[in-house]
């Protein structure tokens, strides 16, 4: 994956932009062939990425209306700052970074207390669904962990993702759903790679614990070894 760092002076991830007519068009809003090409490029790329952007926004915000607003706000920023993006090949990662940073910026503004953006309870979770379900001495045709995956519905997984504390959810979504590298996530969130690694690990464990709870409640956890779930 290429670098997704915008040029200095381009989109500040947390910045709210007052978009003026002509903002994306260069000095004085002069129409140029560059401008036409940029507009065409932007429209084509946005159309190509729209479903993915909305999908990620939906997982981040957990709400359709907020997801639409988030995508619109992020794309307004991207459009305003497009002239500062030197390598257009980086557009996809760049625009997703703007989306995530816009979300984080909005949440920070909305947070009434710092705990609204906290990591949630630090419970030392190291839960593994596989370890819970796997029974090594069963014959090959019995595979409880695969059976569980087959029985879980999409909404069960969405619910488990949505239940993750925000800081974990962001990292899990960026890596698992959008395919960001750890370094890219670290750069986007302005945290060390080690922090990304630990949040990802914790987030995945919490996700699996949540799925286990749901599966137990639905009676679809086959042959689990029991025990406490964080």
């Amino acid at each position: 994956m290429g670098s997704i760092r915008p040029e200095p002076g381009s989109t500040d991830p947390g910045e709210r932009i007052a978009l003026e007519p002509g903002a994306a068009n260069g000095v004085g809003g002069q129409a140029t062939s560059d401008e036409h090409g940029r507009r065409q490029f932007f429209e084509t790329e946005v159309e190509r990425l729209m479903d993915h952007l909305y999908g990620m926004a939906l997982r981040l915000t957990r709400n359709r209306t907020d997801a639409e607003d988030l995508v619109a706000e992020a794309l307004a920023k991207a459009w305003a700052h497009l002239p500062s993006l030197q390598d257009l090949q980086c557009f996809e990662k760049w625009v997703f970074r703007i989306l995530v940073n816009t979300f984080i910026g909005d949440r920070r503004r909305q947070a009434r207390t710092p705990s609204d953006l906290s990591l949630g309870q630090d419970d030392g979770c190291a839960f593994s669904l596989f370890e819970k379900l796997h029974q090594p001495f069963l014959l090959w045709w019995s595979n409880p962990e695969q059976q569980l995956l087959d029985k879980l519905r999409r909404e069960d997984i969405e619910r488990a993702l949505d239940a993750l504390p925000e800081a974990y959810r962001i990292v899990v979504i960026m890596v698992e759903v959008q395919g960001f590298s750890y370094a890219e996530v670290a750069e986007t969130l302005s945290v060390p790679v080690g922090t990304v690694r630990s949040r990802l690990s914790r987030g995945r464990a919490l996700l699996q614990a949540s799925l286990w709870r749901q599966a137990s409640q639905l009676g679809i956890a086959v042959g689990g070894s029991g025990g406490d779930v964080p």
Binding site: E43, V46, Y54, W79, E158, E176, V177
Partner: protein, 77 residues
Amino acid sequence: MTAGLSCEEVIGKLLEYLDRELDAAAQLEVERHLETCRGCFSRAEFERRLRARVVETGDVKAPDSLRRRIRALVARY
């Protein structure tokens, strides 16, 4: 268990292996272990399938109202 990494070591690196975050040598070491260790292979397969289910949750269609909104934005500025 096979020569090279132990099962415990492989499990410790498994998610980074699936994320393609290990260096080439470590990636290869894990891969070799998975080729010969049924237990670790099963776990890797489970994690892969679970990940595929998580990826599916991002697979949605953006509403037309959003597309119209963005088109209007680009047309206006």
